[in-house]
Amino acid sequence: MPMKSAAAAAAAAALLLATAAAAQAADPVKVGMVTTLSTGAGYLGDHVRKGFELALEQAGVADRVTLLVEDDGLDPGTATQLTERMVERDGVKIMTGAIFSNVAMATIPKLVRNYDILYVSPNAGPAPLAGKGCHPRYFNTAYQNDNFAEVMGKYANEQNLKRVYLMAPNYQAGKDSIGGFKRFFKGEVVGEVYTKLNQTDYAAEIAELRAANPDAVYFFYPGGMGINFMKQFAQAGLADKVVALGPAFSFDDTLLDAVGDAAIGFFNGSQWSPDLDVAANKTFVDGYKAKFSEYPTLYAAQGYDTAQAIVAALQKTDWSTADMDALAAAMKQADFPSVRGEFAFGNNNHPIQDIYVREVFKDDTGNVTNRIATKGFDNHVDAYAAECEMK
């Protein structure tokens, strides 16, 4: 009798354990995405989310991941509250979503220091987080902020554009971008102008630009500022006199829609392009157009790769988030088919990847979009990796 009951108990225990294990396997992993969905820049976070969801769907793991999405409203304070609430109340172990560097700086260092979690940035790549402030639990699947500026500096050299005029809004990101350009540009800077943040009328600055008679202008005007500047630049009749160079932030398909033909012939630096000849990219671009009936932007591509990177890591740990060190190690292998082709994480957990120069053109359907003009960098490592103590 005691024998029998012991066996029964053991059987029951085994059964319990088995169901617990089964339940654990079926329990989806929570991923928290606090991103920018409102304000004029709201489409950035929207595209990251769409790309992310598409990747889950195409990988057939949509039911293994619960994606919790919140809008930070481009406000560091709100972002701090929302991320901490997700981690503390909802028990989220994998966070993502930061679009803007100021939001990233306010949230990410605190999160990875105070909690046992992983943070994967799908866009923001501020210098401090790539350099001295790098962290084993923080990954960036997009780029380091300076990359797109650096490639344009190199491109200007190659194209023999000797005299270049530089323009950016008067704030940290603007100065960083100009710095990135000058890191590689070897010619003469004939003007360096910092305008008011969110300035709308550039007539005066453009008149000065024309008077300086440069070979090219490099400008960092993300979002609406980019639309305003490009339209006014073209309206001033400068488009065929001065070569226009910029980072991809002014040239996603949403902005190009608002600029129209005025942007044709502009060059911009990016790590991704819709025409990149990579199998995974075709799957992504076709899937995105079919699902959302719009052209994907680089933000959608980054959201897609962020999801792929996270899923690849989770598959290696058998969908367990119990051991975060193991998950981070799995993440670092970057064992996923990136839409950018070759992709690896450097010592600072930022991408080592090719950076391209894209050209704005009008495609067969009359849509103004980007295509690759040339590859600027092979397996580019960002400028701050050396300052990071991680190996």
Partner: protein
Amino acid sequence: MLLFLEQLLNGVQLSVTLLLMASGLTLVFGIMNLLNLAHGSLFMVGAYVAAWTTGVSGSWLLGLVAGAAAAFVTGIVIELVVMRRLYARDHLDQVLATFGLILFFNELVRLLWGIRPMRLDVPEALGGFVEIVPGAPYPLYRLAVIAAGAAVMLALAWLVQGTRVGMRIRAGSVDREMIGALGVDIGRLYTLVFALGALLAGLAGVLAGPFLAIQSGMGEPILILAFVVVVIGGIGSLKGAVAGSLLVGITDTLGRVYLPKITDAGPALSSMLIFLVMAVVLAVFPTGLYGRKS
């Protein structure tokens, strides 16, 4: 020197947009004693409707008319539904309510037209250049904006100074109770003044549309400048709005160009410049250049 002339022209062009905004703001503030933060939303409504109409119909002129008309109608609706309730309240309540309107309109355009910015191109007939300054082709459209703005302001001056309605508007800005007592339907007068201000803001939005990203919240940066204009010019004074716009538009433009050449702190200084001008003007003329002495 020639470049300086061109920059002066750029300053005047900015002034014209400011003037269209500020004249409505100052009329509403002066006559109805109403602080309307949502004036920038009417600018946005004008630009959005013009961009949409032009896109659908292919006619820029139709877009211009539709944009201005939409702002006018929106003005009437806002006045009847919201502003009416605010005349008797103090300015803080008005700020709160009209700030709410800003959020409402920013969200409304996003619901109607999506988060993608819209596009309004320069009308084809005005796509050329004029060489006012030799060697520096000036966009014809910017000149047209200056001309259109000046014409609208002359018409407004005639309306206010030369017609019976204008007389009532002026009387209303001096003594509201008295013209009510004299049998003028003050409710209707207020609706008219408010809608007129809205029309001008909408027109400013359409005219500035080809320079700008037409997106949710586009009216706020220009609204801040327009308030500075109203304060400098003196609340309620059209003459003040003209003087204030020219002062702000030209100072801002020249400051942006020349201050950075003098000092490294130029970019920071130039964004403060118009507020410094405002402070100086208020120190000398506490009620603004053409404000009524209280």
